[in-house]
């Protein structure tokens, strides 16, 4: 019939693409990445240290997984052991100055709380080290909701002492339809709510990642979905971080993008979404780092204004001041407004200008 992959599920298609990628061998003693940045913390701008641990990788991603996620290929070619992981941590901590206050953000390309990815021994080692380090003011770890259990949180809190501990969950959207059928994330909004309620009871805060414009979703639908999702998660989340879908290597989204069937979101869309969310919920922290902004693979407007608009979004994330998003304008906004209106009605032909 009309489609090339009539009999294939989305997961099978993602897995097919995954199986064709190669993971480059690299030292297991060095993290996939670590870098310093700035974030808003209790009203002040403070340093952050982001560490992406090189692990076995996301169990969900290895079995197919999310349509936009290329982080799977950041995992290790051979399983790192506990000492490897501690070496990765120590390498990263070398980047900190002696007396600086810092928030640690831990990613693994999968779930920090998945004991098959970060063993219980490593979990203890990493969190104890961070708990004991006086410079570290807050620890955020990313995980899928199924690993957020009473015991995992109690254990973690025991290691970090009285430091603020936060879980970060990539919910992407409050729509189960989109999360399951477009993103292929495999869990429901209810699973997320449960995780966040367990966390709340333990005094652990929740940061939620939303995804602007998963595949098959029009520009207008994407904005509406993000705004609706933000409304839906406000009771369960202290911070909302909006990821702008970009085209990562070895993903279904990349395949679609190559075939002109996907366009990353316009930066105007995130500006509109932030304005709507922040004015509705002034107290919630809304952040967005437009990764890859301005490139074909990243969120973009036209060549003239992408940089300016992306910078305004970054400034907003650090200041939470909506005024920085006012007075942005460009001729391309006219096209975006049309796209927003017409992209819903293309019946499978996203407007990719």
């Amino acid at each position: 019939m009309t489609n090339n992959n009539n009999n294939k599920s989305i997961n099978e298609m993602v897995l097919d693409i995954r199986n064709r990628q190669r993971i480059k061998p690299s030292s297991n003693d060095i993290p996939t990445a670590s870098w310093k940045g700035k974030d808003l913390f209790n009203g002040d701008i403070v340093s952050t240290l982001t560490i992406i641990f090189k692990t076995d990788g996301c169990y969900w991603g290895k079995a197919g997984g999310c349509t936009m996620c290329g982080y799977v290929y950041d995992s290790a070619a051979e399983s790192p052991d506990d000492s490897n992981l501690m070496n990765q941590l120590n390498k990263s901590l070398e980047k900190l100055d002696e007396n600086e206050d810092v928030i640690i953000k831990i990613f693994t390309s999968g779930s920090f709380l998945d004991p098959n990815e970060i063993s219980l021994v490593s979990r203890k080692g990493i969190l104890t080290t961070l708990g004991a380090d006086q410079r570290i003011k807050k620890i955020i770890v990313e995980t899928r909701p199924e690993f957020v259990t009473n015991s995992a949180l109690e254990e973690s809190l025991g290691y970090v002492g009285n430091k603020p501990f936060e879980i970060a969950i990539g919910l992407e959207t409050s729509s189960d339809k989109i999360r399951l059928e477009s993103i292929n994330k495999g869990y429901t909004f209810n699973d997320f709510i449960q995780a966040s309620e367990i966390a709340k009871k333990k005094g652990v805060t929740t940061k939620t990642y939303l995804l602007l414009k998963p595949p098959f979703i029009s520009e207008g639908q994407a904005i509406n979905d993000i705004v609706k999702s933000a409304n839906d998660i406000v009771p369960y989340s202290e911070t909302i971080s909006i990821n702008l879908c970009n085209v990562q290597k070895g993903t279904l989204v990349e395949r679609l993008w190559e075939n002109k069937e996907y366009r990353p979101p316009w930066l105007w869309s995130i500006v509109e979404a932030i304005k709507a969310i922040k004015s509705e919920h002034p107290d919630i922290l809304v952040m967005s780092d437009p990764v890859g902004a301005g490139s074909e693979r990243g969120p973009h407007n036209c060549k003239e204004c992408s940089k300016t608009v992306a910078n305004a979004i970054r400034t907003f994330s650090q200041t939470q001041d909506l005024r920085v998003l006012e007075n942005l304008s460009c001729d391309c906004k006219l096209t975006w407004e049309l796209v927003k209106q017409l992209d819903d009605l293309t019946y499978g032909s996203p407007i990719t200008v």
Binding site: M1, N4, E181, F216, N259, K260, L338, L345, S349, V353
Partner: protein
């Protein structure tokens, strides 16, 4: 036709339709995309399952149903993945009353009561003509012939002619609006960046009231609103143009010239020509306009390949010993031309003992008896004496097949020059047969003509007394060509009498008129007597239910049809108590794949005496 969509006229796969909503929409037509979201507009999208819950969708459907209007076409809720993934879902079709006009995103299956199918993903195929063509072809071959086809997010003034040619009925303003926002000034052959134009190549009201200076001093918003007006005007004018071309039956000629403005369009046309099965099934057998074949793509027209194939399959050459190959002429029928008059005069009394065939580009081989038959006398080409390699190959292949299967043990004489001779030589080499060439320069020179006469006279043996060129043989050949081999023997037997001056021949058997030659198309029209004669052969027959037709046969009355029937074919209609003759309006394919509409225009009806 469905309850709300009616095909008024056709040209190949292209249709002129009428969509009966709040107002009648003449298709091919443009849908105003932004309007689709408005519940008062002609086309209403009920929503996407990606972002609307089932409850919300049901509420919307209820709201629309309560209005109880059949004035707007509703598009059934859908969840669409892009073509790489496919897997389109629609739902609530069963919840929507079938008394209102319904549009459905095509998901691989046809459904009842759908008036319009949407080609999903059509807008992204601008770089992939093959996939686009396959997609259109698949929908066209799967859904009822008489439902409307909507290709969203793709229409530009440049491409609607070709897409209509392939069978699309509805377009929308999406691509035109986006282009307008990007400073694109659209034309039917492409676009200009408005900023690069030193004058506006259009004299429509919106353009002629503006100078270049005015345009340059506009803000982007003002430019958009001007471009939007011009661009929408251009596409609407082009739609009117395309509708007229369909009416005039010459869309193909227009598409050949117009599609050359874009590789995508040329590719679409070529994919279509390379996969002619569907198109052949619905292409008219004759048409009244001269067939203009001036591009390299014209060589691949269905009319030509069909003529060539039918000649091979159905035509029986006369039983004599010499086959003479002659070049074609600009004047049609060929025998009316000055050159052919000279050949005929030169052949004199020998002419009736030989089998004449005419070699022509791009038609190939035309037996003299079929020179009146469409399209042999109905085409026009640019004559320069220079043929492309493609042209030579096609004609050589057709001559080769003809000589291989039809010339038997005949001696072959070719009275040709130049490229015709080159082709004959190629074929003679390929088939390893001897061809005697009689032209010693120009075919009409005195020497050539006397050589032709001499050669032919020497080749004919005393026993060859078959009189070939009598009108009876011509009508018999046409009957074979039209209805299938051997039918000629029944309709035009040796005891038949041919009346009337050439070419207005009438066939009689024992005082009964059997058939008339329609000179305009070179095909036969049957009388009831003629129909009865060949009724048992079951060729070109439409079988109907037990009723006595008046004027025309409608699709619902049809039980079965001969799959060979094409639009404008002469057909026999048989019912339990009746036999009729008429002219097919639809092809067999359309008759079997439509729900309503006129299938046959009846000329004569006769009740059968069953008692």
């Amino acid at each position: 036709m469905t309850k709300y969509f009616e095909i008024i006229d056709k040209n190949g796969s292209a249709r002129l339709g009428n969509l009966k909503l709040k107002q009648n929409i003449r298709t091919p037509a443009l849908i105003d995309t932004p309007g689709i979201k408005d519940f008062e507009s002609l086309f209403i999208d009920l929503g996407s399952m990606w972002n609307s819950s089932n409850d919300e969708l049901i509420k919307i459907i209820k709201h629309i149903q309560e209005k109880g209007s059949c004035e707007n076409l509703v598009i059934v809720p859908h969840q669409i993945f892009t073509p790489t993934v496919g897997n389109i879902k629609s739902s609530f079709l069963d919840d929507i009353s079938n008394s209102i006009p319904i549009g459905l995103v095509y998901d691989g299956y046809k459904k009842d009561n759908v008036d319009m199918y949407i080609i999903s993903g059509s807008g992204i195929y601008s770089k992939n003509a093959r996939r686009f063509f396959e997609q259109i072809l698949e929908i066209k071959s799967n859904v009822p012939f008489d439902t409307a086809i909507y290709a969203p997010a793709v229409a530009l003034p440049q491409n609607i002619a070709t897409l209509t040619y392939l069978g699309v009925d509805l377009f929308d303003s999406t691509a035109v609006l986006i282009a307008s926002s990007q400073d694109m000034y659209l034309t039917t052959y492409g676009f200009y960046d408005i900023n690069q134009l030193s004058e506006l190549p259009c004299m429509c009201q919106d353009c002629s009231s503006l100078s270049h200076q005015n345009v340059m001093s506009m803000t982007r918003k003002e430019r958009f609103s001007f471009l939007k007006k011009h661009n929408i005007n251009v596409i609407k004018a082009e739609l009117a143009n395309v509708r007229q071309k369909i009416k005039d039956g010459c869309l193909r000629e227009y598409v050949e010239s117009q599609s050359s403005s874009s590789p995508l369009l040329t590719s679409l046309l070529r994919h279509s020509d390379n996969n002619p099965t569907y198109m052949e099934k619905i292409t008219e057998i004759v048409r009244s306009r001269t067939l203009i074949a001036n591009t390299s793509d014209s060589l691949h027209r269905i009319e030509f390949s069909r003529f060539s194939q039918r000649t091979l399959d159905r035509y029986s050459p006369p039983d004599n010993s010499v086959c003479l190959i002659l070049p074609c002429s600009a004047r049609k029928p060929y025998s009316f031309s000055q050159s052919h008059q000279k050949y005929i005069k030169a052949l004199g009394k020998y002419r009736k003992y030989i089998h004449e065939i005419i070699l022509s580009s791009p038609l190939g081989v035309i037996p003299r008896e079929l020179e009146l038959t469409y399209p042999a006398a109905h085409y026009d080409i640019a004559v320069t004496g220079h043929w492309s390699e493609d042209e030579k190959k096609i004609v050589a292949d057709r001559l080769s097949s003809y000589l291989k299967y039809k010339s038997g043990s005949k001696k072959i004489v070719a009275h040709v020059e130049g490229v015709y001779r080159e082709i004959c030589e190629r074929v003679s080499l390929e088939l390893n047969i001897d061809i005697i060439y009689t032209a010693t320069g120009k075919t009409t020179s005195k020497d050539s003509l006397s050589n032709l006469r001499k050669t032919v006279s020497l080749l004919l043996d005393e026993s060859s007394n078959f009189r070939n060129l009598e009108p009876r043989k011509m009508l018999k050949s046409i009957a074979d060509y039209q209805f299938g081999s051997k039918i000629g023997e029944i309709l035009v037997p040796n005891n038949s009498i041919i009346k009337g001056p050439y070419p207005k021949y009438q066939v009689y058997i024992d005082q009964d008129q059997i058939a008339t030659l329609i000179p305009q198309y070179g095909i036969l029209a049957l009388t009831i007597e003629g129909a009865k004669l060949i009724a048992d052969e079951n060729k070109y027959t439409v079988y109907i239910d037990d009723f006595i037709p008046k004027g025309s046969i409608l699709v619902p009355g049809i039980i079965n049809v001969d799959p060979d029937i094409r639009p404008k074919d002469e057909v026999i209609v048989k019912g339990p108590r009746v036999i009729c003759v008429g002219r097919a309006v639809m092809s067999a394919y359309e008759m079997m794949n439509s729900s309503y509409g006129i299938a046959v225009d009846i000329r004569h009806v006769q009740k059968l005496d069953n008692s």
